[in-house]
């Protein structure tokens, strides 16, 4: 942060944050075109089919972001209860009037043939609810009761997401946002460390158990994915297909990649390459270099947001930024972990880059909120 010697109040505007976001979104559009043009041409006769749809969402998102940047974020404080309830209501509507795609109902229709994912709203609703509650409860938020309220609010929303849209990944993110916000708000470390250790032990035990389970033992499809995760190449023609194809893409890219547009794996091999698996094609075309560069960009983005949270004008602003930071961090980590087969395959999109209109619009809106918080940081003399 610069100091200024001028004697009037100057407000802060985080340009580096804006540029990184713009870069990621632009880069995402370029990669979506590169990845999807083959499938778009063969399936829709228009190689820019996915690009145009995404571009429309990005424009809406950018306009929304610009507007939100200049909206005082305290206005949202009053909406936390309604936001939470409306989000729950929207989720509850999905099983009844939801639109089905790829065998699952996750979308709600909008007028004019548009559609959106209520799970994305749920993430914002949880951030807003937790941020507001932490401010309202003050010291009480750090007591057991306060923690319980925050935890229950996040968990209920996560369960709603899971059961109404059968979207485990979004449920994990919703819950994750809540946990991170509670963790940061508390003084305590030991309880969280104990929980983290217990969770790790449980996961390890579960994995050991799963290693002895075969694909034919009548498992549900989520468990089959875990079996496939443990040895993807053994199930390369079945559950492991997407993962193995993504690994092939990463491995064949080498250090500098095959060059932009030169991916072979996007030619119908990686299913949904422009969605959750886009990072594997980035690695194939731009190599290890490109992949790590994207990781570094996300890291800088998150660092900027941490700085904003620390310096925010008030606690509510800090908490909003913390929530958004948590969401982006969780999504990036889980997405790359899935693509590299570090965790079992579950559908999580890469923020700003993956194809998906609702996701990019809401992420841009959230960045708008972050910039709004940043704008209110006063640079003083």
């Amino acid at each position: 942060m610069k100091k200024t010697k001028k004697n009037y109040t100057e407000y802060y505007f985080d340009y580096s944050l804006l540029f990184i976001v713009l870069f990621l979104v632009g880069f995402g559009l370029m990669m979506i075109y590169s990845v999807s043009s083959y499938e778009a041409y063969t399936n829709y006769g228009n190689e820019a089919f996915f690009l145009i749809k995404q571009l429309r969402s990005v424009i809406i998102g950018l306009i929304g972001m610009a507007v939100v940047t200049f909206v005082p974020y305290h206005w949202y404080e009053k909406l936390y209860g309604w936001g939470y309830l409306i989000s729950c209501a929207l989720l509850a509507l999905v099983p009844f009037i939801g639109i089905e795609s790829h065998g699952v109902k996750r979308w709600l229709p909008l007028p004019g043939g548009f559609q959106f994912q209520p799970a994305e709203i749920a993430k914002i609703a949880v951030i807003l609810f937790c941020a507001t509650m932490i401010c309202k409860m003050g010291k009480g938020a750090r007591k057991l009761g306060g923690n319980a309220i925050l935890m229950i609010a996040s968990a209920v929303m996560a369960l709603m997401v899971y059961f109404c849209t059968s979207n485990l990944s979004s449920a994990i993110i919703v819950l994750g946002i809540g946990v991170v916000m509670i963790f940061i708000e508390n003084r305590n470390y030991s309880v969280f460390v104990i929980f983290a250790v217990l969770a790790v032990v449980a996961v390890v035990a579960f994995v050991m158990y799963m290693k002895n389970v075969g694909m034919d033992d009548g498992l549900s499809w989520r468990f089959e994915r875990i079996v496939a995760w443990l040895d993807p190449e053994a199930h390369a023609q079945g559950k492991g297909f997407q993962t193995v194809q993504a690994l092939y893409a990463i491995g064949s890219g080498g250090i500098w990649g095959k060059g932009l547009g030169q991916s072979m794996q996007k030619l119908g091999f990686i299913p949904e390459a422009q969605n959750d698996m886009i990072f594997s094609v980035i690695c194939e075309e731009l190599g290890l270099f490109g992949g790590i560069l994207i990781i570094v960009l996300f890291l800088i983005l998150l660092w900027r947001m941490v700085i904003i949270a620390i310096n925010a004008q008030d606690l509510f602003g800090s908490q909003l930024v913390i929530g958004v930071t948590a969401q982006i961090a969780i999504q990036v980590i889980l997405n790359i972990a899935v693509v590299t087969n570090t965790i079992p395959n579950t559908g999580i999109s890469l923020p700003f880059i993956s194809y998906g209109g609702t996701s990019v619009i809401f992420l841009l809106l959230e960045i708008g909120v972050v910039m709004s918080v940043a704008r209110n940081i006063k640079l003083v003399e």
């Binding site: 092939y248 990463i250 491995g251 030619l267 990781i295 890291l299 660092w303 800090s318 948590a326 003083v380």
Partner: protein
């Protein structure tokens, strides 16, 4: 950093929260670092493997273009083996059932056209296409000729509603002459891998390089195709002359027809083989054996009928059994395959046997060459000779009396030969067996040649071994070893490498390689060679001598030379014999050599060289005029009549039932040659 707070009551982020934010960021940093490491690990550890996987997955986007395997043609350019382009009908249900505005406009026109031009069960095809809408590759008909598909292709070009049908090209190996030279040529299946004969030996020459049609995406993401054409295989030109070959095979077949089922149910002999070779080049003009098989249908079980039965590992069943209908039914799996192998192999190069008295010419040549005898010696034959504690008898047990060296060959006297071999000595004798290449491969350019070095003695042989070796018993050779060595005995001593192919050309006719005659070594001197020719001429041509053994081999009007052979097989005393005649024509200037072996004739008395000389006579009677070798001898009236009849027969070759030719000739005095060896 400092911040100005306007209102004291505004809650700000607390210190512990800042600390925890930084801790959280550190955790995120660690997670990112871990993921980056994971990326590095995937790229460095599995990069190469995954790159290959990615490339191998692309294969569906390219198609292979088959090459055309080269032809095999005879010395006159007659095609013995060719590859014909054939077409497989491929049905792409996915395309046929593709929908345009909710309808399937291609289905009905395509089905109608298919039914019109091909003999297909259209109900089954329709059902298949409708129930397998994602199938892109279904082949209901294979190996159609161009004529069979041209009608459909024309209609398909004219009607753009016919879709989803294409023709996959491949080549089919066809042998226009059927079974002709089956042993020499061998056969090739669908995989372009030759089995036996030239097809196997010249497999790599005959095969070309597979072409490829690549599909790739250009800068506009459109699929482009580029073709790397297939390179067709080379054509090989054999030294075999289809006319000579068919004359040989005609008489081998005739022999079989005359002798089959005579005293046992089965072929006329276990094996009959015949080789005709150019004396001064090593070129093989004809090479055949009976039983034989149809190259276009090598797995025809009926061709096994009458053959010797072999067991699951390819050894002859003891006691010797002949394949009858009932045995044939029991053959299957490996057992059947071994019996096919026994049929497919080339008897002339793959079977080893004791050559018998034809080896006497070699024994005498070795003796002359080492100076052990001069050719002027006279031996006395009393019917047997006592050697190494055994009485080894002559075929003429009453004794031949005084025997000159020429007589010993002309009469095939064992006693004289044993004495000649004794004079030569074991060391020289075995050295000359090596010089004559007995037991070793001749390196003829055909697959499956046998090596019999382990069945020969060296200088440490016993006296009785030397004695029996002198007349061709107790060591094994192949037909090709014998005739190649014999050519060197009569051509002045030049041992030519025998070969079947003299030229390799590209499919368009440009010469790739000329295979010139190759002299491997000098076996004997000119003078020895002249003497051997003189002795061998006596075998057939000596007048007013009833004791010569080869008179029945002489074709009418020609003077030829040669040597008969009658070898007793193991175990001795079972009255089973391999009889043979090895000769050449013309007598004064040998141009071609011929060798006929009859392995265990289907006859009461197998030890009659006439089985072999009869075939030689028949074959030469037709082959010599064909080779423009003129008659030198006067024809008797019976011979004139015989030639006239034969001419008539050849003219009527395609007449319904040509009368079988009767073998004529004088009776040979030779009855039994070899006696049991020690």
């Amino acid at each position: 950093m400092k911040k100005e707070e306007k209102k004291k009551d505004v809650k700000k982020i607390q210190k512990h929260m800042k600390e925890k934010l930084v801790v959280s960021f550190a955790v995120i940093l660690l997670a990112f670092a871990g993921l980056a490491l994971r990326l590095v690990k995937i790229t460095t550890e599995d990069g190469t493997r995954y790159t290959k996987q990615v490339l191998s997955q692309q294969e569906y986007d390219s198609t292979t273009l088959p090459f055309r395997r080269g032809d095999i043609v005879d010395a006159q350019g007659t095609k013995l083996a060719v590859s014909e382009k054939v077409y497989n009908l491929v049905i792409d249900s996915k395309v046929i059932m593709s929908e345009v505005q909710g309808k399937t406009p291609y289905y009905e026109p395509t089905m109608t056209a298919l039914g019109k031009y091909f003999e297909l069960d259209m109900n089954a095809i329709r059902e298949y296409v409708q129930s397998h809408t994602s199938s892109a590759y279904y082949v209901p008909l294979k190996q159609l000729t161009y004529d069979q598909i041209s009608g459909f292709k024309a209609e398909m070009d004219a009607n753009d509603k016919i879709k989803g049908i294409w023709f996959e090209e491949e080549y089919k190996r066809v042998y226009p002459m059927g079974s002709l030279a089956a042993d020499v040529i061998g056969f090739t299946g669908k995989d372009n891998t030759g089995t036996y004969g030239l097809e196997e030996y010249y497999n790599d020459v005959l095969n070309g390089t597979t072409g490829r049609e690549f599909g790739y995406l250009n800068d506009d993401s459109a699929l482009e195709r580029t073709i790397k054409p297939a390179v067709d295989g080379y054509t090989i030109h054999t030294t075999i002359d289809a006319n000579i070959q068919s004359i040989i095979e005609k008489y081998l077949l005739q022999f079989n027809e005359e002798h089959k089922n005579a005293v046992r149910t089965g072929n006329g002999a276990e094996n009959v083989g015949c080789i005709i070779m150019e004396v001064d080049t090593g070129n093989i003009l004809g090479m055949a054996s009976y039983p034989t098989f149809d190259l276009n249908n090598p797995r025809d079980k009926s061709a096994l009928l009458g053959n010797v039965l072999v067991d699951e590992v390819g050894n002859k069943v003891k006691p010797t059994t002949y394949i009858t209908e009932s045995v044939l039914e029991t053959l299957e799996g490996d057992h059947l395959y071994q019996n096919y192998n026994y049929l497919w192999k080339n008897f002339c190069i793959a079977d080893t046997y004791e050559p018998g008295s034809v080896a006497k010419a070699f024994t005498v040549a070795a003796a002359l060459e080492t100076g052990s005898i001069t050719g002027n010696e006279v031996y006395t034959c009393n019917g047997s000779l006592h050697i190494g504690g055994h009485d080894i008898s002559c075929h003429n047990t009453y004794g031949d009396g005084a025997v000159t060296v020429e007589d010993s060959i002309a009469w095939s006297c064992n006693v004289a030969l044993m004495e000649i071999a004794q004079a030569t000595g074991k060391a020289n004798f075995s050295k000359f067996q090596q010089i004559f290449n007995f037991g070793l491969k001749t390196n003829i350019d055909s697959a499956g040649e046998a090596r019999t070095a382990g069945l020969l003695f060296d200088a440490s042989m016993g006296d009785a071994d030397l004695a029996t070796n002198s007349f061709g018993q107790n060591f094994n050779t192949t037909m090709i070893q014998m005739i190649t060595g014999f050519c060197s005995l009569i051509n002045g001593g030049n041992y030519y490498e025998p070969h079947l192919v003299d030229k390799i050309t590209t499919s368009s006719g440009a010469t790739v390689e000329n295979i010139e005659p190759r002299i491997l070594r000098q076996t004997v001197s000119e003078s020895t060679s002249e003497k051997i020719v003189q002795y061998c001429n006596a075998v057939v041509m000596r007048e007013n001598d009833r004791r010569i053994t080869g008179r029945t081999a002489r074709p009418a009007g020609y003077a030829i030379g040669g040597k008969t052979g009658t070898a007793e097989t193991l175990p001795r005393g079972n009255d089973e014999y391999v009889v043979s005649f090895m000769g050449y024509a013309p007598a004064d200037d040998p141009q071609i050599a011929i060798y006929v072996v009859v392995d265990r004739a289907n006859a009461e008395d197998q030890d009659d060289a006439k089985f072999a000389t009869g075939i030689v006579r028949n074959v030469l009677t037709e082959v010599l005029p064909y080779l423009n070798i003129f008659m030198t001898e006067e024809l008797s009236e019976t011979e004139q009549q015989e030639l006239a009849d034969r001419e008539q027969e050849i003219t009527n070759m395609y007449a319904p039932t040509p009368a079988p030719e009767e073998v004529t000739g004088e009776v040979s005095p030779e009855s039994a040659t070899a006696s049991p060896a020690p």
